[in-house]
């Protein structure tokens, strides 16, 4: 099963490598990873999406906890939480599809952040399902480039699953 794991880590050099090394060294897969500073610049937050059975996920969280630079590990999947990802999609639609692209962007509350004579770049934010849905719909119109941030997640206050 897929899990979204949130980590607070010391913002030091080498930390990312310790974490990715833990995954590669033990044969676990990282499906997505995002990192950023927190309000406290000495601490970074990471969101890792990985998958495995219960035993593997237990090992992953324990092994992450064991790393000296990891301050806190939360398996978001066990909590009620909100997940978001942002994607940038560059489409090069045919003349007759242009209106449809703009309509889709609007339906998904995307924004056109750049356009050229032949392309639109659309920014969409949402959970996995929403992102997947718009990508599916835009595919036939000709996606030229696709960028994604990786998932971030935050727990809902005080609610346990």
């Amino acid at each position: 099963m897929r899990h979204t794991i949130s980590l607070l880590v010391e913002n030091k050099f080498g930390v990312l490598s310790r974490i990715s090394g833990l995954f590669s060294g033990r044969g676990y897969n990282i499906e997505s990873l995002s990192v950023g500073e927190t309000i406290d610049p000495q601490i970074s937050i990471m969101t890792i999406v990985t998958s495995g059975d219960d035993q593997i996920i237990e090992q992953i969280t324990k092994q992450l906890n064991k790393l000296i630079d990891v301050i806190k590990v939360v398996d978001m999947t066990e909590l009620e939480h909100v997940e978001r990802e942002m994607v940038l999609i560059k489409v090069a639609p045919k003349q007759e599809d242009k209106a449809e692209v703009l309509r889709l962007a609007e339906i998904f509350r995307g924004r056109v952040v750049d356009s050229s004579q032949r392309t639109y770049t659309i920014e969409v934010t949402g959970d996995e399902k929403k992102i997947e849905a718009i990508v599916e719909l835009l595919k036939p119109m000709g996606i030229k480039e696709f960028m994604r941030t990786g998932k971030i997640a935050i727990a809902r206050e005080g609610i346990k699953k």
Binding site: S17, G21, K62, D69, I71
Partner: protein, 577 residues
């Protein structure tokens, strides 16, 4: 007053109580070596290879419980330490390894003798540092020792750029607090109580004791637990000495080359109490057939060891000594059983297995059996020695036939299985215990992997004894080829390439002795133990001898071979005739 990074290095080691370090010089560590030149507090032992330095520091640590310290140069000096560091990491041995590094402004430039040792050693250290600023140095050293020694111990590496050892600052010794590192020492009281009740409810109980018993200093508490509840104890390779091998409740070692009765007891048990061990595949054999009827209580300081490869019913994260102290108390105050009544049938059953298949070998008058040498060493030392081993058959025969009664008397490479470990480790242990008998039980293959350390032993007047079980083969690999590869001895026959160990010893200024007949074994050992010099003993042993019992790879641990299947068939045939 401002002092240099090199001086801070020395002041910090003094604060940590370090007296000995093992090392090898080179360009970027010259500042430090210069400060060590006339230093009275810290003695550097020059080994003849950086791998030797790290293993020596490891032997020093294993035999004393104090952290071992090594100092090497950048590039090749640093990469030469990797095997030693990985070895210590697998066996949870506290080391602090200092590697020199090119000046900070050259890092990343492929400078002369630059290696990214922080990157290289990341997966095999507990933690590592690049000390980029001299003002951080004393704090880093203090943290490194703390991390190496606390929680589940392990090696820590500090990379020291040359300019950092030269630049100056005030020396401070700051209190350290690592917010993200808080090992759990106290076991959960509720879990411990559950464990006590489960112990009381179960009949066929076995204790599996590992290296964690020794690391935590919990041998006394383990003995108390076993004796009070009448539970037999089997010790993993790393756990040997954690419980007395001569005790009537001792089952010896379990697993691939363990005793039949230990393996039988595990397989038939209804409760396993695993203490400071991690269910290595050499212990469990075929994992899904391991201890099929048993509930498992697992006590370990490292949460990742628990439920890593076997299911666990009662996990207890904590320091072995502290957890056992509480467990013993709960058992005595809250549970109270007529233990010897409860355990009678079980111990009787185990005794029957012990009689059915004792640990044994066939003695010969013609040729020296390697097991005989190990037995003689045990007999003559009365178990009062520090024994190191190399890796292979020599290691397994030592584990089987030398009964370790005290913790920290066996130095062996358990997790990594590093040939070449034993001799330098013995040197480190001898330095820490000048008046003890320290013996490396070796193979003719392994001893050649760090044989250069003869110079270290001789020049430092360290009277280490090396007993080479010389079978002219890479014996353990040959054994597998004999049993599983139709006797095709691909690249395991050393034969005439085996050097004259007596002459080698003499060339280095050590004593060389040889025994070729069983009757010569005892006199050679006695002579070696008498002298105050470094001794190599060349025991020319039966090359055909194999380590039995043996669980074939992938089999459940109670399906053991006691001899080669064909030899068994031949014997039967003869009996019929």
């Amino acid at each position: 007053m401002k002092i240099s990074g090199a001086e801070i290095f020395i002041e910090s080691l003094k604060k940590e109580g370090v007296k000995h370090i093992f090392g090898y010089p080179g360009g970027v560590v010259l500042n430090i070596f210069d400060r060590l030149y006339d230093n009275k507090d810290i003695q550097l032992i020059l080994t003849r290879h950086e791998q030797g330095a790290v293993h020596a520091a490891d032997g020093y640590a294993r035999s004393t419980g104090k952290p071992g310290v090594a100092l090497v140069t950048s590039g090749p000096g640093a990469t030469n330490t990797v095997t030693g560091i990985a070895n210590a990491s697998m066996d949870s041995i506290p080391l602090v390894v200092f590697s020199g590094q090119v000046p900070t402004m050259l890092i990343g430039n492929d400078a002369f003798q630059e290696a990214d040792i922080v990157g290289i050693s990341r997966p095999c250290t507990k933690y590592n540092y690049l000390a980029k600023d001299v003002r951080d140095l004393s704090r880093i050293v203090r943290e490194a020792f703390y991390i190496a020694m606390s929680g589940r111990p392990g090696p820590v590496l500090i990379d020291l750029p040359k300019d950092v050892t030269a630049s100056k600052t005030e020396f401070t010794w700051p209190e350290i607090k690592i917010r993200s590192y808080n090992p759990t020492y106290e076991g959960n009281k509720w879990m411990i109580t559950q464990a006590a009740h489960l112990i009381a409810k179960s009949k066929k109980v076995v204790i599996l004791a590992g290296g964690g018993v020794i690391l935590s200093g919990g041998s006394k508490e383990l003995k108390e637990l076993a004796e009070y509840t009448d539970i037999p104890v089997t010790m993993t390779l790393m756990g040997l000495g954690g419980f007395p091998g001569t005790h009537e409740l001792s089952l010896g070692m379990p697993g691939m080359h363990g005793t039949y009765y230990a393996n039988k007891a595990i397989q038939e048990s209804d409760l396993l109490i695993a203490i400071g061990m991690r269910f290595d595949d050499r212990v469990t054999g075929k994992i899904d057939a391991f201890a099929p009827h048993a509930k498992i209580i697992h006590i370990d300081i490292d949460p990742t060891s628990i439920r890593k490869n076997v299911r666990v019913d009662i996990p207890i994260v904590g320091d072995v000594k502290r957890v056992l102290t509480v467990l013993n108390k709960v058992l005595k105050e809250e549970v109270k059983e007529q233990w010897n009544e409860v355990r009678k049938a079980w111990l009787k059953q185990i005794d029957a297995w012990r009689k059915e298949r004792p640990l044994t070998y066939t003695y010969s008058n013609e040729v020296i059996k390697p097991q005989f040498v190990v037995e003689k060493i045990h007999e003559l030392t009365k178990g009062d020695a520090i024994i190191a081993t190399e890796v292979g058959q020599n290691q397994m025969w030592t584990a089987q036939f030398y009964k370790f009664d005290k913790p920290r008397t066996l130095l062996t490479s358990g997790g990594l299985g590093t040939m070449g470990y034993g001799f330098p480790a013995a040197i480190g242990a001898q330095l820490a215990h000048p008046n003890k008998l320290v013996i490396d039980i070796a193979g003719d293959g392994s001893i050649q992997m760090n044989i250069q350390e003869l110079a270290t032993a001789v020049i430092n007047k360290l009277p280490v004894k090396v007993a080479i079980l010389n079978n002219r083969y890479l014996g353990m690999v040959r054994q597998w080829q004999e049993l599983f590869f139709s006797e095709r001895y691909s690249h395991t026959k050393l034969d005439e390439s085996v050097p004259d160990f007596v002459k080698i010893a003499e060339a280095y200024g050590a004593v060389g002795l040889r025994a070729t007949k069983p009757g010569e074994v005892e006199p050679v050992l006695k002579e070696a133990f008498k002298t105050k010099r470094t001794v190599f003993m060349d025991f020319v042993v039966d090359w055909k001898e194999k380590v039995f019992p043996m669980v074939p790879p992938g089999a459940p641990i109670d399906q053991m071979l006691f001899e080669k299947p064909e030899e068994k068939a031949e014997k039967k045939l003869k009996a019929v005739k």
